[in-house]
């Protein structure tokens, strides 16, 4: 049973890092980025390209790709998010959905159909583990969990303790009023998008190291990110970590009961949380929820 819990928590770390960018964009912009998974896959391809073509150290490559994703975030914000959110929430959902389809097929054109992974570039890290008695703890899984805690904790501190973080929250709450007190809402949104995309870069690296991917691997990743983000709630960015771990734990416990139970348990918990929120009356627009933020 200890093994089930440990594996569940570690899996939760992966979900949390996957969900960080999605939850952040939603909580500060009210925007559901359906291209989230596709961008994670794109980031993974970038890392493979840098390692493969230039022979870079994989962790240096990941750092460069995280920065590159930040730039892409700025471009996507200006070209897609900003114009589409002006047309209302439905339009931005459709726009990001379209973006994901374009991105998946563009990646197929450029990178082909072959299965790729970062595993060949990181030696045995993709499967190495620490042995604690009967318990095996994957090194990569621990690193991912630590990274998730660091990223989400960092984002939380950033939003609550820095001027820029306050500016982003103010813009999310009421862009017009924020503008009156001297905040440039456009700049705040752009920076928020860049940060969200940098976490997507990390999520892509985590995906590429723990599993394999093809140009069409983005959608399932989006689904897990979405579930973790919803379970975590958008009250606090920390919630995403809890959400990821709850999802991971319920899936491994479900699989322990029956191997078919992996998704069923995760989905049941997801719906249970969703309904509890609906009836508890706390499922609101992100702007309203932000008021209760620390």
């Amino acid at each position: 049973m200890i093994d089930v819990v440990v594996q569940g928590v570690l899996l939760g770390g992966y979900y949390a890092i996957l969900a960080a960018g999605l939850a952040f964009l939603y909580s500060v912009m009210g925007l559901f980025n359906l291209a989230h998974g596709s961008f994670a896959v794109l980031a993974a391809y970038f890392v493979v390209m840098l390692c493969d073509a230039l022979g870079l150290d994989p962790f240096l490559a990941i750092a460069l790709v995280v920065l590159a994703l930040g730039v892409i975030g700025v471009v996507v914000e200006r070209l897609v998010f900003e114009p589409s959110t002006r047309g209302g929430p439905l339009l931005s959902v459709l726009a990001t959905f379209g973006l994901s389809v374009v991105l998946d097929n563009a990646m197929f054109q450029v990178f082909g159909a072959n299965t790729r992974s970062l595993a060949p570039y990181i030696g045995d890290l993709s499967w190495a583990s620490w042995e604690l008695g009967d318990l095996y703890v994957g090194k990569l899984a621990v690193i991912t969990l630590v990274a998730a805690v660091a990223v989400l904790g960092g984002l939380h501190l950033f939003l609550t303790h820095t001027g820029l973080g306050r500016a982003i929250r103010a813009t999310a709450q009421d862009a017009d009023t924020a503008g009156l007190v001297g905040i440039d809402p456009r700049r705040a949104r752009t920076i928020a998008a860049a940060i969200a995309f940098m976490t997507i870069g990390l999520a892509g690296a985590a995906l590429g190291m723990r599993a394999t991917f093809t140009p069409y691997s983005g959608t399932p990743q989006l689904l897990f990110a979405f579930q973790a983000a919803v379970i975590g709630g958008s009250n606090s960015i920390w919630g995403t970590l809890i959400g990821g771990i709850v999802l991971g734990l319920s899936q491994t416990i479900g699989a322990e009961i029956s191997t078919q139970g992996f998704f069923i348990a995760g989905n049941l918990v997801f719906f249970a949380v969703l309904f509890a929120r609906l009836y508890g009356g706390s499922l609101r627009l992100p702007a309203l929820i932000l008021k209760r933020k620390v």
Binding site: Q7, L11, F108, D124, W127, S129, A211, Q251, A255, Q260
Partner: protein, 431 residues
């Protein structure tokens, strides 16, 4: 339709335009039925983009080879026919496969349909051809899923008049696996990773009992959903049972996640044979596994060492693989041979019919066909059920490359095709 026609036919009213269009359609359709038509249209449908695209990655090359080979036309019963190959990509989508088949049948007027790789591609195409009365040939999926999966019943006459399939089935899997697993000493305990999908449930019901009859103890933790992310439950079950052989029919990303986690959890140090299906067919699957890839066993439906040649292109198996590597700069894939064999059988059927524009004659010719292909003899008169011809499936292992490529694909047993030389010795995965 009518709105696109408006600018050009601005002098016509809508009714006049439609009447004109109908006449035009009737006139253009006429040559297809005319006696003197000497163009044979062959439809070729395969997945070349989307999740199944790895199966279709050699098809551009194969089609170019075949087009070059038949550029001067083929002579059938004293008439020289020009051959037109119309190739389509399903984008790995079954409903698109059906649409494409209907389009090729109704708008391109194909005389023969070819479909390759996976039930998602083949079954919808075969069903469309069956409904429209167009002869259809297919390969690369277990024939049981093609025959029984489309509504045929055991011990009843075949319900299919127009669709035919050749290639391996569950029986070939069983023969290859049993021979392969007896090559080295193990405790004969097999942990199976069979998902809850068409293939997984079919092998659980049909393959596992044959393996058990051959003296292997099957450890099945139960079906699981595709795209499961964590396999600790299965790994615990395998460790408790002490398995030394693992047989997976999981999707490629699922197997990769499982195998890495199995390494992480210390399971793989006891594993002597890792026998995979659905993944491990192509070098890219194995390369993506990093240091865990070499040593995995697979089963091949075609191999470059096969001592056969294509009657259509005249190429030997080795020449086809080498030509592909020279032209594309990527390692050969087994789908090259399967797609070429499909054209071999298709053109043999058109020739054998003596009346290739007569669809009923072509279908009848396929039923009695026995022909050479680049993948060996395809014999529809000796199939396991009507409409189906057997094909081989040989045990293979991925090993560290000795030549131009990082990994090589070597044959380790040849029960289902004794002509294929066994050049490799199966070595234990954990050694």
């Amino acid at each position: 339709m009518n709105s696109t026609g408006k600018p050009e036919f601005s002098g016509l009213d809508r009714r006049g335009f439609l009447a004109g269009a109908a006449t035009l359609a009737a006139v253009t359709a006429l040559p297809l039925r005319a006696q003197g038509d000497t163009t044979l249209r062959i439809g070729f449908i395969s997945p070349r983009s989307g999740p199944l695209a790895a199966f279709g990655q050699g098809d551009d090359f194969v089609i170019a080879q075949v087009r070059a080979a038949v550029a001067g036309g083929i002579e059938i019963a004293g008439t020289t026919y020009t051959v037109e190959i119309i190739d389509r990509d399903t984008q790995s989508d079954p409903s698109r496969a059906a649409q494409l088949a209907n389009d090729l049948i109704n708008n391109e007027g194909v005389d023969l349909m070819l479909a390759s790789s996976t039930p998602e591609t083949i079954n919808p195409v075969a069903d469309s051809c069956e409904a429209a009365g167009v002869p259809c040939l297919s390969t690369v999926m277990p024939w049981e899923a093609w025959y029984f999966g489309r509504g045929a019943k055991p011990d009843e006459p075949s319900p299919f008049k127009w669709s035919y399939h050749f290639g391996f089935g569950v029986g070939e899997f069983a023969k290859a696996y049993i021979t392969q697993w007896n090559l080295i000493e193990t405790n004969r305990k097999v942990g199976v990773l069979y998902p809850n999908d068409a293939d997984g449930n079919a092998v659980r019901a049909m393959l596992a009992p044959q393996l058990a009859d051959a003296g292997f103890e099957i450890v099945d933790p139960g079906a699981f959903e595709n795209l499961t992310v964590d396999y600790s439950a299965q790994i615990r079950a395998f460790k408790e049972a002490g398995v030394e052989i693992i047989n997976s029919f999981a999707l490629p990303p699922d197997f990769a996640a499982f195998w890495r986690q199995a390494a992480q959890q210390g399971l793989l140090k006891d594993i002597k044979i890792g026998q995979v299906a659905k993944t491990g067919l192509f070098p890219s699957d194995i390369e993506a596994m990093g240091s865990l890839g070499p040593g995995l066993s697979s089963a091949a439906y075609w191999h470059r060492d096969m001592p056969y040649s294509s009657p259509v292109t005249g190429q030997s198996a080795e020449a086809l693989a080498a030509g592909y590597e020279a032209e594309t700069g990527t390692q050969w894939v087994q789908s090259l041979g399967a797609s070429t064999a499909l054209f071999d059988v298709g053109i043999a059927a058109l020739t054998a019919s003596a009346a290739p524009k007569d669809k009923a004659a072509v279908a009848a010719a396929i039923a009695g066909l026995r022909t050479d292909t680049i993948g060996g003899v395809v014999d529809f008169t000796a199939g396991p059920v009507p409409n189906v011809a057997h094909g081989p499936l040989v045990g293979t292992q991925w090993v560290e490359g000795t030549g131009a490529w990082p990994i090589d694909y070597v044959v380790t047993e040849n029960t289902t095709d004794p002509n294929l030389p066994v050049v490799g010795t199966l070595h234990a995965y954990n050694e």
